[in-house]
Symmetry: C2
Subunit: 324 residues, 2 copies
Protein backbone atom coordinates (compact mmCIF):
# COMPACT_ATOMS: atom_id res chain seq x y z
CA UNK A 1 0.00 0.00 0.00
CA UNK A 2 1.74 3.17 -1.16
CA UNK A 3 1.28 6.57 -2.79
CA UNK A 4 1.69 5.13 -6.29
CA UNK A 5 -1.48 3.10 -5.79
CA UNK A 6 -3.33 6.27 -4.82
CA UNK A 7 -2.01 8.11 -7.89
CA UNK A 8 -3.08 5.20 -10.08
CA UNK A 9 -6.53 5.28 -8.49
CA UNK A 10 -6.71 9.02 -9.19
CA UNK A 11 -6.00 8.32 -12.85
CA UNK A 12 -8.79 5.72 -12.98
CA UNK A 13 -11.18 8.12 -11.18
CA UNK A 14 -10.34 11.10 -13.41
CA UNK A 15 -13.54 12.46 -14.95
CA UNK A 16 -15.57 10.01 -12.83
CA UNK A 17 -15.34 11.28 -9.25
CA UNK A 18 -16.17 14.88 -8.45
CA UNK A 19 -13.43 17.16 -7.18
CA UNK A 20 -15.47 18.25 -4.18
CA UNK A 21 -15.11 21.85 -3.00
CA UNK A 22 -13.35 23.08 0.13
CA UNK A 23 -16.00 25.26 1.81
CA UNK A 24 -15.76 27.84 4.58
CA UNK A 25 -17.79 30.45 6.41
CA UNK A 26 -16.70 33.36 8.59
CA UNK A 27 -19.40 32.24 11.06
CA UNK A 28 -17.83 28.81 11.43
CA UNK A 29 -14.32 30.29 11.69
CA UNK A 30 -15.64 32.32 14.61
CA UNK A 31 -17.19 29.31 16.35
CA UNK A 32 -14.11 27.15 15.79
CA UNK A 33 -11.71 29.86 16.92
CA UNK A 34 -9.50 29.23 13.88
CA UNK A 35 -9.81 28.98 10.11
CA UNK A 36 -12.07 26.01 9.33
CA UNK A 37 -12.15 24.43 5.86
CA UNK A 38 -14.65 21.72 5.07
CA UNK A 39 -14.04 19.17 2.32
CA UNK A 40 -17.59 18.50 1.15
CA UNK A 41 -17.53 14.79 0.25
CA UNK A 42 -21.29 14.74 0.78
CA UNK A 43 -21.35 16.27 -2.71
CA UNK A 44 -19.53 13.24 -4.16
CA UNK A 45 -21.55 10.89 -6.38
CA UNK A 46 -23.94 8.78 -4.21
CA UNK A 47 -23.62 11.32 -1.40
CA UNK A 48 -20.39 10.08 0.21
CA UNK A 49 -16.67 9.52 -0.45
CA UNK A 50 -17.35 5.78 -0.78
CA UNK A 51 -17.85 6.10 -4.54
CA UNK A 52 -14.11 6.75 -4.81
CA UNK A 53 -13.15 3.40 -3.27
CA UNK A 54 -15.88 1.49 -5.06
CA UNK A 55 -14.86 2.81 -8.46
CA UNK A 56 -11.17 2.36 -7.69
CA UNK A 57 -11.61 -1.32 -6.81
CA UNK A 58 -14.02 -2.24 -9.61
CA UNK A 59 -12.10 -0.39 -12.31
CA UNK A 60 -8.90 -2.27 -11.36
CA UNK A 61 -10.43 -5.76 -11.75
CA UNK A 62 -9.55 -8.02 -14.65
CA UNK A 63 -12.38 -7.48 -17.19
CA UNK A 64 -13.31 -11.18 -17.31
CA UNK A 65 -13.59 -11.42 -13.55
CA UNK A 66 -15.31 -8.04 -13.32
CA UNK A 67 -18.00 -8.99 -15.80
CA UNK A 68 -19.39 -11.64 -13.43
CA UNK A 69 -20.18 -8.93 -10.89
CA UNK A 70 -19.28 -7.80 -7.38
CA UNK A 71 -20.62 -8.18 -3.86
CA UNK A 72 -20.30 -5.96 -0.79
CA UNK A 73 -21.39 -5.85 2.84
CA UNK A 74 -22.46 -2.41 4.01
CA UNK A 75 -24.94 -0.52 6.13
CA UNK A 76 -25.26 2.06 3.42
CA UNK A 77 -22.64 4.38 1.99
CA UNK A 78 -20.22 1.73 0.73
CA UNK A 79 -23.32 -0.07 -0.59
CA UNK A 80 -24.34 2.90 -2.70
CA UNK A 81 -20.80 3.65 -3.87
CA UNK A 82 -20.24 0.07 -5.03
CA UNK A 83 -23.72 -0.23 -6.58
CA UNK A 84 -23.31 2.97 -8.60
CA UNK A 85 -19.75 2.14 -9.70
CA UNK A 86 -20.87 -1.36 -10.75
CA UNK A 87 -23.86 -0.07 -12.71
CA UNK A 88 -21.66 2.48 -14.50
CA UNK A 89 -19.36 -0.41 -15.44
CA UNK A 90 -22.37 -2.36 -16.72
CA UNK A 91 -21.89 -5.24 -14.27
CA UNK A 92 -24.23 -6.74 -11.64
CA UNK A 93 -23.81 -6.04 -7.92
CA UNK A 94 -25.18 -7.73 -4.81
CA UNK A 95 -25.16 -5.77 -1.55
CA UNK A 96 -25.72 -7.50 1.80
CA UNK A 97 -27.24 -4.92 4.17
CA UNK A 98 -28.56 -5.06 7.75
CA UNK A 99 -32.35 -4.84 7.74
CA UNK A 100 -32.14 -1.98 10.29
CA UNK A 101 -29.98 0.26 8.08
CA UNK A 102 -31.51 3.68 7.25
CA UNK A 103 -34.39 3.11 4.84
CA UNK A 104 -33.08 5.79 2.51
CA UNK A 105 -29.78 3.95 2.09
CA UNK A 106 -31.48 0.62 1.34
CA UNK A 107 -33.86 2.21 -1.18
CA UNK A 108 -31.06 4.13 -2.89
CA UNK A 109 -28.83 1.07 -3.16
CA UNK A 110 -31.62 -0.79 -4.95
CA UNK A 111 -32.39 2.19 -7.18
CA UNK A 112 -28.71 2.49 -8.14
CA UNK A 113 -29.00 -0.98 -9.68
CA UNK A 114 -27.90 -3.39 -6.95
CA UNK A 115 -29.63 -6.54 -5.75
CA UNK A 116 -30.02 -5.95 -2.01
CA UNK A 117 -29.98 -8.94 0.37
CA UNK A 118 -31.11 -8.01 3.89
CA UNK A 119 -30.01 -9.83 7.05
CA UNK A 120 -31.11 -9.58 10.67
CA UNK A 121 -28.18 -7.97 12.53
CA UNK A 122 -29.82 -8.08 15.96
CA UNK A 123 -31.02 -11.68 15.46
CA UNK A 124 -27.45 -12.84 14.95
CA UNK A 125 -27.63 -13.84 11.28
CA UNK A 126 -24.10 -14.23 9.85
CA UNK A 127 -23.72 -11.84 6.92
CA UNK A 128 -20.43 -13.45 6.01
CA UNK A 129 -22.06 -16.84 5.49
CA UNK A 130 -24.92 -15.29 3.51
CA UNK A 131 -22.56 -13.39 1.24
CA UNK A 132 -20.13 -16.24 0.74
CA UNK A 133 -22.86 -18.58 -0.49
CA UNK A 134 -24.04 -16.04 -3.07
CA UNK A 135 -20.49 -15.18 -4.17
CA UNK A 136 -19.46 -18.76 -4.80
CA UNK A 137 -22.65 -19.55 -6.68
CA UNK A 138 -22.28 -16.60 -9.06
CA UNK A 139 -18.53 -15.97 -9.11
CA UNK A 140 -18.84 -12.49 -7.62
CA UNK A 141 -15.79 -10.54 -6.42
CA UNK A 142 -15.97 -9.20 -2.86
CA UNK A 143 -15.34 -5.45 -2.54
CA UNK A 144 -14.40 -4.93 1.12
CA UNK A 145 -15.46 -1.62 2.67
CA UNK A 146 -12.07 -0.54 4.03
CA UNK A 147 -9.50 -3.27 4.58
CA UNK A 148 -8.59 -3.57 0.90
CA UNK A 149 -5.63 -1.72 -0.68
CA UNK A 150 -7.55 -0.75 -3.86
CA UNK A 151 -10.33 0.74 -1.75
CA UNK A 152 -7.88 2.60 0.51
CA UNK A 153 -6.20 3.92 -2.67
CA UNK A 154 -9.52 5.22 -3.99
CA UNK A 155 -10.36 6.99 -0.73
CA UNK A 156 -6.84 8.42 -0.73
CA UNK A 157 -7.67 10.44 -3.84
CA UNK A 158 -9.65 12.70 -1.51
CA UNK A 159 -6.35 13.41 0.23
CA UNK A 160 -4.62 14.26 -3.07
CA UNK A 161 -7.37 16.82 -3.72
CA UNK A 162 -6.98 18.32 -0.25
CA UNK A 163 -3.22 18.70 -0.82
CA UNK A 164 -3.91 20.48 -4.15
CA UNK A 165 -6.63 22.70 -2.72
CA UNK A 166 -4.54 23.70 0.29
CA UNK A 167 -1.65 24.60 -2.02
CA UNK A 168 -4.02 26.68 -4.16
CA UNK A 169 -5.16 28.48 -1.02
CA UNK A 170 -1.56 29.03 0.08
CA UNK A 171 -2.01 27.11 3.34
CA UNK A 172 0.89 24.91 4.43
CA UNK A 173 -0.07 23.68 7.85
CA UNK A 174 -3.26 22.20 9.31
CA UNK A 175 -4.81 19.30 11.15
CA UNK A 176 -7.13 17.25 8.94
CA UNK A 177 -10.06 15.66 10.79
CA UNK A 178 -11.43 12.47 9.24
CA UNK A 179 -14.54 10.55 10.31
CA UNK A 180 -13.21 7.09 11.02
CA UNK A 181 -14.95 3.74 10.85
CA UNK A 182 -12.62 0.98 9.69
CA UNK A 183 -10.05 3.55 8.64
CA UNK A 184 -10.06 3.25 4.84
CA UNK A 185 -10.50 6.95 4.19
CA UNK A 186 -8.34 7.92 7.16
CA UNK A 187 -5.45 5.72 6.01
CA UNK A 188 -5.77 6.73 2.36
CA UNK A 189 -5.83 10.44 3.15
CA UNK A 190 -2.91 10.08 5.58
CA UNK A 191 -0.80 8.36 2.90
CA UNK A 192 -1.71 10.98 0.29
CA UNK A 193 -0.83 13.85 2.61
CA UNK A 194 2.41 12.21 3.73
CA UNK A 195 3.53 12.29 0.09
CA UNK A 196 2.03 15.58 -1.09
CA UNK A 197 1.64 17.82 1.96
CA UNK A 198 3.52 16.32 4.91
CA UNK A 199 2.83 19.18 7.35
CA UNK A 200 -0.87 18.28 7.21
CA UNK A 201 -1.55 15.81 9.99
CA UNK A 202 -4.59 13.50 10.03
CA UNK A 203 -6.67 13.06 13.20
CA UNK A 204 -9.37 10.36 13.24
CA UNK A 205 -12.76 11.34 14.69
CA UNK A 206 -15.26 8.88 16.17
CA UNK A 207 -18.56 8.97 18.06
CA UNK A 208 -18.70 8.24 21.78
CA UNK A 209 -18.88 4.53 22.66
CA UNK A 210 -17.42 3.65 19.22
CA UNK A 211 -13.92 5.05 19.73
CA UNK A 212 -12.08 1.85 18.78
CA UNK A 213 -9.48 3.70 16.69
CA UNK A 214 -8.73 6.32 19.36
CA UNK A 215 -8.22 3.53 21.91
CA UNK A 216 -6.20 1.43 19.46
CA UNK A 217 -3.85 4.35 18.78
CA UNK A 218 -3.28 4.70 22.52
CA UNK A 219 -2.80 1.00 23.29
CA UNK A 220 -0.81 0.21 20.14
CA UNK A 221 -2.99 -2.76 19.20
CA UNK A 222 -6.39 -3.19 17.56
CA UNK A 223 -9.11 -2.51 20.12
CA UNK A 224 -12.76 -3.34 19.48
CA UNK A 225 -16.14 -1.84 20.35
CA UNK A 226 -18.75 -3.70 22.33
CA UNK A 227 -21.25 -3.37 19.51
CA UNK A 228 -21.45 -2.46 15.82
CA UNK A 229 -24.75 -0.62 16.15
CA UNK A 230 -26.52 1.71 18.54
CA UNK A 231 -25.39 5.19 17.42
CA UNK A 232 -26.98 7.66 15.03
CA UNK A 233 -23.52 7.78 13.38
CA UNK A 234 -24.29 4.55 11.50
CA UNK A 235 -21.81 5.31 8.72
CA UNK A 236 -18.73 4.97 10.93
CA UNK A 237 -19.56 2.07 13.28
CA UNK A 238 -17.14 -0.81 12.80
CA UNK A 239 -15.68 -3.55 14.93
CA UNK A 240 -12.22 -1.99 15.15
CA UNK A 241 -9.70 -0.68 12.62
CA UNK A 242 -8.58 -3.03 9.84
CA UNK A 243 -5.46 -5.19 9.58
CA UNK A 244 -4.33 -3.13 6.58
CA UNK A 245 -5.45 0.27 7.81
CA UNK A 246 -4.26 0.20 11.42
CA UNK A 247 -0.49 0.13 10.75
CA UNK A 248 -0.94 3.18 8.50
CA UNK A 249 -3.01 5.02 11.11
CA UNK A 250 -0.46 4.12 13.76
CA UNK A 251 2.43 5.47 11.72
CA UNK A 252 0.82 8.67 10.40
CA UNK A 253 -2.15 9.87 12.47
CA UNK A 254 -2.35 12.10 15.51
CA UNK A 255 -4.45 11.22 18.55
CA UNK A 256 -8.10 10.36 17.90
CA UNK A 257 -10.94 12.69 18.82
CA UNK A 258 -14.29 11.60 20.25
CA UNK A 259 -17.56 13.54 19.85
CA UNK A 260 -21.07 13.09 21.24
CA UNK A 261 -24.17 12.36 19.18
CA UNK A 262 -25.61 15.72 20.20
CA UNK A 263 -22.49 17.49 18.91
CA UNK A 264 -22.93 15.71 15.57
CA UNK A 265 -26.54 16.91 15.34
CA UNK A 266 -25.50 20.48 16.15
CA UNK A 267 -22.73 20.30 13.54
CA UNK A 268 -25.30 19.12 10.96
CA UNK A 269 -27.47 22.12 11.79
CA UNK A 270 -24.56 24.54 11.46
CA UNK A 271 -23.52 22.99 8.13
CA UNK A 272 -27.11 23.56 6.95
CA UNK A 273 -27.09 27.15 8.17
CA UNK A 274 -23.60 28.27 7.17
CA UNK A 275 -22.46 26.06 4.30
CA UNK A 276 -25.78 25.03 2.69
CA UNK A 277 -24.84 21.37 2.66
CA UNK A 278 -26.58 18.27 4.00
CA UNK A 279 -24.60 16.00 6.33
CA UNK A 280 -25.53 12.74 8.03
CA UNK A 281 -24.56 12.30 11.71
CA UNK A 282 -21.48 10.18 10.99
CA UNK A 283 -20.51 12.62 8.23
CA UNK A 284 -20.60 15.55 10.64
CA UNK A 285 -18.42 14.14 13.43
CA UNK A 286 -15.27 15.80 12.03
CA UNK A 287 -17.03 19.17 11.86
CA UNK A 288 -18.31 18.62 15.41
CA UNK A 289 -14.75 18.02 16.58
CA UNK A 290 -13.54 21.19 14.84
CA UNK A 291 -16.36 23.27 16.34
CA UNK A 292 -16.67 21.85 19.84
CA UNK A 293 -13.26 20.32 20.66
CA UNK A 294 -11.01 23.12 19.53
CA UNK A 295 -9.01 22.85 22.74
CA UNK A 296 -7.78 19.44 21.60
CA UNK A 297 -6.55 20.80 18.25
CA UNK A 298 -3.36 22.56 17.25
CA UNK A 299 -2.57 25.32 14.77
CA UNK A 300 -4.56 28.12 13.19
CA UNK A 301 -6.24 26.06 10.47
CA UNK A 302 -8.33 22.90 10.66
CA UNK A 303 -9.70 20.88 7.74
CA UNK A 304 -12.76 18.68 8.37
CA UNK A 305 -13.71 16.06 5.80
CA UNK A 306 -17.51 15.95 5.75
CA UNK A 307 -17.75 12.37 4.58
CA UNK A 308 -21.42 11.85 3.74
CA UNK A 309 -24.92 13.26 3.52
CA UNK A 310 -27.23 10.24 3.28
CA UNK A 311 -29.66 11.09 6.05
CA UNK A 312 -33.39 10.50 6.44
CA UNK A 313 -35.54 13.67 6.59
CA UNK A 314 -36.66 12.85 10.15
CA UNK A 315 -33.07 12.73 11.43
CA UNK A 316 -32.26 15.95 9.60
CA UNK A 317 -35.28 17.68 11.14
CA UNK A 318 -34.07 16.47 14.54
CA UNK A 319 -30.71 18.13 13.83
CA UNK A 320 -32.37 21.41 12.80
CA UNK A 321 -34.25 21.46 16.12
CA UNK A 322 -30.91 21.97 17.90
CA UNK A 323 -30.91 25.52 16.44
CA UNK A 324 -33.97 26.54 18.49
Amino acid sequence: MNIDMIRAAAARLSGRARRTPLLSSPFLDGLAGRRLLLKAECLQHTGSFKFRGGWSAISALDPDIRSKGVIAYSSGNHAQGVAHAATLHGIPSVIVMPADAPQLKIANTRALGAEVVLYDRAGGEDRGAIGQAISQERGLTLIKPYDEPLVIAGQGTCGLEIAEQMAEAGIENAEVLVNCGGGGLTAGVALALEAEAPPLRVRPVEPERFDDTARSLISGQIERNESESGSICDAILTNGPGENTFPILQRLCGPGLVVTEDECLRAMALAFLRLKIVLEPGGAASLAAALFHGGDLQGDTVVAIATGGNVDPSMFTRALETLD
Copy 2:
Protein backbone atom coordinates in the same frame (compact mmCIF):
# COMPACT_ATOMS: atom_id res chain seq x y z
CA MET B 1 -22.85 46.29 -21.09
CA ASN B 2 -20.83 43.64 -22.90
CA ILE B 3 -18.80 40.47 -22.49
CA ASP B 4 -15.58 42.40 -21.79
CA MET B 5 -17.14 43.78 -18.63
CA ILE B 6 -17.96 40.23 -17.52
CA ARG B 7 -14.41 39.07 -18.26
CA ALA B 8 -13.05 42.03 -16.28
CA ALA B 9 -15.35 41.13 -13.38
CA ALA B 10 -14.09 37.54 -13.54
CA ALA B 11 -10.53 38.83 -13.21
CA ARG B 12 -11.50 40.91 -10.14
CA LEU B 13 -13.35 37.92 -8.63
CA SER B 14 -10.52 35.46 -9.26
CA GLY B 15 -9.54 33.78 -6.00
CA ARG B 16 -12.47 35.54 -4.27
CA ALA B 17 -15.62 33.87 -5.58
CA ARG B 18 -15.96 30.11 -5.46
CA ARG B 19 -16.15 28.19 -8.72
CA THR B 20 -19.32 26.37 -7.68
CA PRO B 21 -19.74 22.75 -8.81
CA LEU B 22 -22.13 21.44 -11.45
CA LEU B 23 -23.96 18.62 -9.64
CA SER B 24 -26.11 15.79 -10.93
CA SER B 25 -27.89 12.64 -9.79
CA PRO B 26 -29.22 9.69 -11.77
CA PHE B 27 -32.41 9.99 -9.68
CA LEU B 28 -33.00 13.57 -10.82
CA ASP B 29 -32.18 12.69 -14.44
CA GLY B 30 -34.94 10.09 -14.19
CA LEU B 31 -37.46 12.54 -12.74
CA ALA B 32 -36.59 15.24 -15.26
CA GLY B 33 -36.65 12.87 -18.20
CA ARG B 34 -33.36 14.26 -19.47
CA ARG B 35 -29.85 14.95 -18.17
CA LEU B 36 -30.13 17.57 -15.43
CA LEU B 37 -27.11 19.56 -14.24
CA LEU B 38 -27.39 21.87 -11.29
CA LYS B 39 -25.06 24.85 -10.82
CA ALA B 40 -24.87 25.04 -7.03
CA GLU B 41 -24.63 28.79 -6.36
CA CYS B 42 -26.02 28.11 -2.88
CA LEU B 43 -22.41 27.08 -2.16
CA GLN B 44 -21.15 30.54 -3.12
CA HIS B 45 -19.88 32.78 -0.29
CA THR B 46 -22.87 34.16 1.72
CA GLY B 47 -25.06 31.35 0.34
CA SER B 48 -26.06 32.91 -2.98
CA PHE B 49 -24.69 34.19 -6.30
CA LYS B 50 -25.14 37.76 -5.05
CA PHE B 51 -21.60 37.86 -3.66
CA ARG B 52 -20.37 37.91 -7.27
CA GLY B 53 -22.22 41.14 -8.14
CA GLY B 54 -21.46 42.77 -4.80
CA TRP B 55 -17.72 42.11 -5.08
CA SER B 56 -17.69 43.10 -8.75
CA ALA B 57 -19.27 46.48 -8.06
CA ILE B 58 -17.31 47.34 -4.90
CA SER B 59 -13.95 46.22 -6.32
CA ALA B 60 -14.45 48.49 -9.36
CA LEU B 61 -15.03 51.67 -7.32
CA ASP B 62 -12.45 54.42 -7.12
CA PRO B 63 -10.57 53.75 -3.84
CA ASP B 64 -11.31 57.21 -2.41
CA ILE B 65 -15.02 56.88 -3.08
CA ARG B 66 -15.06 53.26 -1.94
CA SER B 67 -13.45 54.04 1.40
CA LYS B 68 -16.51 56.07 2.48
CA GLY B 69 -18.65 52.95 2.24
CA VAL B 70 -21.61 51.54 0.32
CA ILE B 71 -25.36 51.21 0.76
CA ALA B 72 -27.84 48.70 -0.64
CA TYR B 73 -31.55 47.91 -0.53
CA SER B 74 -32.34 44.23 -0.27
CA SER B 75 -34.61 41.66 1.30
CA GLY B 76 -31.64 39.45 1.95
CA ASN B 77 -29.26 37.84 -0.51
CA HIS B 78 -27.94 41.01 -2.15
CA ALA B 79 -27.71 42.41 1.39
CA GLN B 80 -25.42 39.60 2.52
CA GLY B 81 -23.36 39.64 -0.68
CA VAL B 82 -22.73 43.40 -0.42
CA ALA B 83 -22.11 43.29 3.34
CA HIS B 84 -19.52 40.51 3.02
CA ALA B 85 -17.79 42.09 0.01
CA ALA B 86 -17.65 45.44 1.82
CA THR B 87 -16.24 43.92 5.01
CA LEU B 88 -13.58 42.04 3.01
CA HIS B 89 -12.65 45.40 1.44
CA GLY B 90 -12.44 46.93 4.92
CA ILE B 91 -15.17 49.51 4.23
CA PRO B 92 -18.50 50.21 5.99
CA SER B 93 -21.84 49.11 4.55
CA VAL B 94 -25.42 50.10 5.31
CA ILE B 95 -28.21 47.77 4.19
CA VAL B 96 -31.83 48.91 4.10
CA MET B 97 -34.02 45.83 4.61
CA PRO B 98 -37.76 45.25 4.98
CA ALA B 99 -38.62 44.38 8.58
CA ASP B 100 -40.52 41.30 7.34
CA ALA B 101 -37.50 39.78 5.53
CA PRO B 102 -36.48 36.29 6.75
CA GLN B 103 -34.94 36.66 10.20
CA LEU B 104 -31.93 34.59 9.17
CA LYS B 105 -31.09 37.01 6.36
CA ILE B 106 -31.34 40.05 8.64
CA ALA B 107 -29.20 38.43 11.35
CA ASN B 108 -26.59 37.26 8.83
CA THR B 109 -26.34 40.67 7.18
CA ARG B 110 -25.59 42.24 10.56
CA ALA B 111 -23.11 39.51 11.47
CA LEU B 112 -21.30 39.97 8.15
CA GLY B 113 -20.48 43.50 9.27
CA ALA B 114 -23.25 45.69 7.87
CA GLU B 115 -25.33 48.30 9.65
CA VAL B 116 -28.91 47.17 8.98
CA VAL B 117 -31.69 49.76 8.74
CA LEU B 118 -35.17 48.19 8.80
CA TYR B 119 -38.25 49.75 7.19
CA ASP B 120 -41.94 48.81 7.30
CA ARG B 121 -42.76 47.53 3.80
CA ALA B 122 -46.46 46.89 4.51
CA GLY B 123 -46.89 50.24 6.25
CA GLY B 124 -45.78 52.08 3.13
CA GLU B 125 -42.47 53.50 4.36
CA ASP B 126 -40.35 54.68 1.41
CA ARG B 127 -37.06 52.80 1.48
CA GLY B 128 -35.68 55.08 -1.23
CA ALA B 129 -36.15 58.18 0.95
CA ILE B 130 -34.65 56.42 3.97
CA GLY B 131 -31.60 55.28 2.02
CA GLN B 132 -31.05 58.55 0.22
CA ALA B 133 -30.90 60.52 3.45
CA ILE B 134 -28.26 58.17 4.91
CA SER B 135 -26.24 58.08 1.66
CA GLN B 136 -26.03 61.86 1.32
CA GLU B 137 -25.10 62.34 4.94
CA ARG B 138 -22.22 59.84 4.81
CA GLY B 139 -21.19 59.88 1.15
CA LEU B 140 -22.09 56.22 0.58
CA THR B 141 -22.20 54.70 -2.91
CA LEU B 142 -25.42 52.89 -3.81
CA ILE B 143 -24.93 49.29 -5.01
CA LYS B 144 -28.13 48.47 -6.92
CA PRO B 145 -29.29 44.84 -6.74
CA TYR B 146 -29.64 44.20 -10.48
CA ASP B 147 -30.03 47.23 -12.72
CA GLU B 148 -26.35 48.17 -12.61
CA PRO B 149 -23.82 47.07 -15.28
CA LEU B 150 -21.06 46.23 -12.77
CA VAL B 151 -23.47 44.01 -10.86
CA ILE B 152 -24.74 42.33 -14.04
CA ALA B 153 -21.09 41.75 -15.01
CA GLY B 154 -20.37 40.08 -11.67
CA GLN B 155 -23.38 37.77 -11.93
CA GLY B 156 -22.32 36.99 -15.51
CA THR B 157 -19.18 35.29 -14.18
CA CYS B 158 -21.48 32.43 -13.18
CA GLY B 159 -22.27 32.07 -16.89
CA LEU B 160 -18.57 31.98 -17.81
CA GLU B 161 -18.13 29.09 -15.36
CA ILE B 162 -21.11 27.24 -16.82
CA ALA B 163 -19.64 27.60 -20.32
CA GLU B 164 -16.31 26.18 -19.07
CA GLN B 165 -17.91 23.35 -17.12
CA MET B 166 -20.15 22.32 -20.01
CA ALA B 167 -17.12 22.26 -22.33
CA GLU B 168 -15.24 20.12 -19.79
CA ALA B 169 -18.21 17.73 -19.74
CA GLY B 170 -18.32 17.68 -23.54
CA ILE B 171 -21.90 19.03 -23.68
CA GLU B 172 -22.66 21.53 -26.44
CA ASN B 173 -26.36 22.11 -26.21
CA ALA B 174 -28.75 22.81 -23.33
CA GLU B 175 -31.36 25.13 -21.93
CA VAL B 176 -30.15 27.04 -18.87
CA LEU B 177 -32.86 27.82 -16.31
CA VAL B 178 -32.24 30.91 -14.18
CA ASN B 179 -34.30 32.11 -11.23
CA CYS B 180 -35.28 35.63 -12.22
CA GLY B 181 -36.09 38.62 -10.05
CA GLY B 182 -34.92 41.87 -11.62
CA GLY B 183 -32.88 39.95 -14.16
CA GLY B 184 -29.29 40.74 -13.14
CA LEU B 185 -28.13 37.13 -13.05
CA THR B 186 -30.30 36.16 -16.01
CA ALA B 187 -28.93 38.97 -18.19
CA GLY B 188 -25.33 38.41 -17.08
CA VAL B 189 -25.45 34.67 -17.72
CA ALA B 190 -27.17 35.20 -21.08
CA LEU B 191 -24.41 37.61 -22.20
CA ALA B 192 -21.67 35.24 -21.01
CA LEU B 193 -23.19 32.26 -22.83
CA GLU B 194 -23.81 34.29 -25.99
CA ALA B 195 -20.05 34.89 -26.15
CA GLU B 196 -18.70 31.58 -24.86
CA ALA B 197 -21.32 28.91 -25.57
CA PRO B 198 -23.97 30.30 -27.92
CA PRO B 199 -25.98 27.07 -28.27
CA LEU B 200 -26.85 27.33 -24.56
CA ARG B 201 -30.11 29.25 -24.28
CA VAL B 202 -31.24 30.98 -21.07
CA ARG B 203 -34.82 30.62 -19.84
CA PRO B 204 -35.95 32.80 -16.89
CA VAL B 205 -37.95 31.06 -14.15
CA GLU B 206 -40.37 32.83 -11.79
CA PRO B 207 -42.92 31.91 -9.14
CA GLU B 208 -46.65 32.12 -9.85
CA ARG B 209 -48.17 35.60 -9.40
CA PHE B 210 -44.67 37.15 -9.81
CA ASP B 211 -44.13 36.34 -13.49
CA ASP B 212 -43.34 39.89 -14.57
CA THR B 213 -40.43 38.82 -16.77
CA ALA B 214 -42.36 36.03 -18.53
CA ARG B 215 -45.17 38.51 -19.29
CA SER B 216 -42.71 41.23 -20.33
CA LEU B 217 -41.02 38.86 -22.78
CA ILE B 218 -44.42 38.14 -24.34
CA SER B 219 -45.68 41.73 -24.51
CA GLY B 220 -42.33 43.24 -25.49
CA GLN B 221 -42.44 45.89 -22.76
CA ILE B 222 -41.73 45.95 -19.03
CA GLU B 223 -44.71 44.47 -17.16
CA ARG B 224 -45.07 44.75 -13.39
CA ASN B 225 -46.41 42.60 -10.57
CA GLU B 226 -49.25 43.69 -8.33
CA SER B 227 -47.06 43.32 -5.25
CA GLU B 228 -43.41 42.88 -4.23
CA SER B 229 -44.18 40.48 -1.41
CA GLY B 230 -46.48 37.56 -0.66
CA SER B 231 -44.54 34.53 -1.92
CA ILE B 232 -42.19 32.14 -0.12
CA CYS B 233 -39.78 32.85 -3.03
CA ASP B 234 -38.72 36.13 -1.38
CA ALA B 235 -35.34 36.19 -3.14
CA ILE B 236 -36.83 36.75 -6.61
CA LEU B 237 -39.76 39.11 -6.04
CA THR B 238 -39.24 42.42 -7.84
CA ASN B 239 -41.41 45.05 -9.40
CA GLY B 240 -40.57 44.11 -12.98
CA PRO B 241 -37.33 43.60 -14.95
CA GLY B 242 -34.83 46.47 -14.99
CA GLU B 243 -34.21 49.13 -17.63
CA ASN B 244 -30.73 47.72 -18.20
CA THR B 245 -31.58 44.03 -17.90
CA PHE B 246 -34.78 43.83 -19.94
CA PRO B 247 -33.28 44.64 -23.39
CA ILE B 248 -30.70 41.89 -22.79
CA LEU B 249 -33.36 39.38 -21.72
CA GLN B 250 -35.47 40.34 -24.73
CA ARG B 251 -32.60 39.80 -27.16
CA LEU B 252 -31.16 36.57 -25.71
CA CYS B 253 -33.62 34.62 -23.55
CA GLY B 254 -36.22 32.02 -24.44
CA PRO B 255 -39.76 32.10 -23.08
CA GLY B 256 -40.12 32.39 -19.30
CA LEU B 257 -41.25 29.49 -17.12
CA VAL B 258 -43.58 29.80 -14.13
CA VAL B 259 -43.63 27.40 -11.17
CA THR B 260 -45.84 27.04 -8.10
CA GLU B 261 -44.71 27.49 -4.51
CA ASP B 262 -45.45 23.83 -3.84
CA GLU B 263 -43.19 22.82 -6.73
CA CYS B 264 -40.39 24.92 -5.22
CA LEU B 265 -40.79 23.15 -1.87
CA ARG B 266 -40.73 19.74 -3.56
CA ALA B 267 -37.61 20.74 -5.51
CA MET B 268 -35.92 21.80 -2.24
CA ALA B 269 -36.71 18.38 -0.76
CA LEU B 270 -35.30 16.57 -3.80
CA ALA B 271 -32.15 18.70 -3.74
CA PHE B 272 -31.74 17.68 -0.07
CA LEU B 273 -32.29 14.02 -0.88
CA ARG B 274 -30.34 13.66 -4.12
CA LEU B 275 -27.70 16.40 -4.18
CA LYS B 276 -27.11 17.05 -0.46
CA ILE B 277 -27.49 20.79 -0.85
CA VAL B 278 -29.71 23.33 0.89
CA LEU B 279 -31.87 25.58 -1.30
CA GLU B 280 -34.27 28.36 -0.41
CA PRO B 281 -37.65 28.48 -2.21
CA GLY B 282 -36.61 31.17 -4.70
CA GLY B 283 -33.33 29.33 -5.26
CA ALA B 284 -35.15 26.14 -6.17
CA ALA B 285 -37.57 27.52 -8.79
CA SER B 286 -35.22 26.62 -11.67
CA LEU B 287 -34.87 23.06 -10.39
CA ALA B 288 -38.66 22.91 -9.99
CA ALA B 289 -39.07 23.94 -13.63
CA ALA B 290 -36.58 21.29 -14.76
CA LEU B 291 -38.30 18.57 -12.72
CA PHE B 292 -41.97 19.44 -13.14
CA HIS B 293 -42.24 21.42 -16.39
CA GLY B 294 -40.16 19.22 -18.65
CA GLY B 295 -42.84 19.41 -21.34
CA ASP B 296 -42.03 23.09 -21.77
CA LEU B 297 -38.30 22.43 -22.28
CA GLN B 298 -36.31 21.38 -25.32
CA GLY B 299 -33.27 19.16 -25.81
CA ASP B 300 -31.75 16.29 -23.90
CA THR B 301 -29.88 18.38 -21.29
CA VAL B 302 -31.08 21.08 -18.93
CA VAL B 303 -28.96 23.20 -16.59
CA ALA B 304 -30.64 24.74 -13.53
CA ILE B 305 -28.85 27.47 -11.61
CA ALA B 306 -29.68 26.94 -7.93
CA THR B 307 -29.24 30.54 -6.92
CA GLY B 308 -29.38 30.52 -3.14
CA GLY B 309 -29.75 28.57 0.09
CA ASN B 310 -30.55 31.16 2.76
CA VAL B 311 -33.62 29.55 4.28
CA ASP B 312 -34.96 29.42 7.83
CA PRO B 313 -35.05 25.95 9.42
CA SER B 314 -38.86 26.07 9.70
CA MET B 315 -39.28 26.63 5.95
CA PHE B 316 -36.78 23.86 5.22
CA THR B 317 -38.65 21.46 7.47
CA ARG B 318 -41.85 22.38 5.60
CA ALA B 319 -40.11 21.45 2.35
CA LEU B 320 -38.94 18.10 3.76
CA GLU B 321 -42.54 17.29 4.70
CA THR B 322 -43.39 17.12 0.99
CA LEU B 323 -41.37 13.86 0.89
CA ASP B 324 -43.87 12.05 3.16
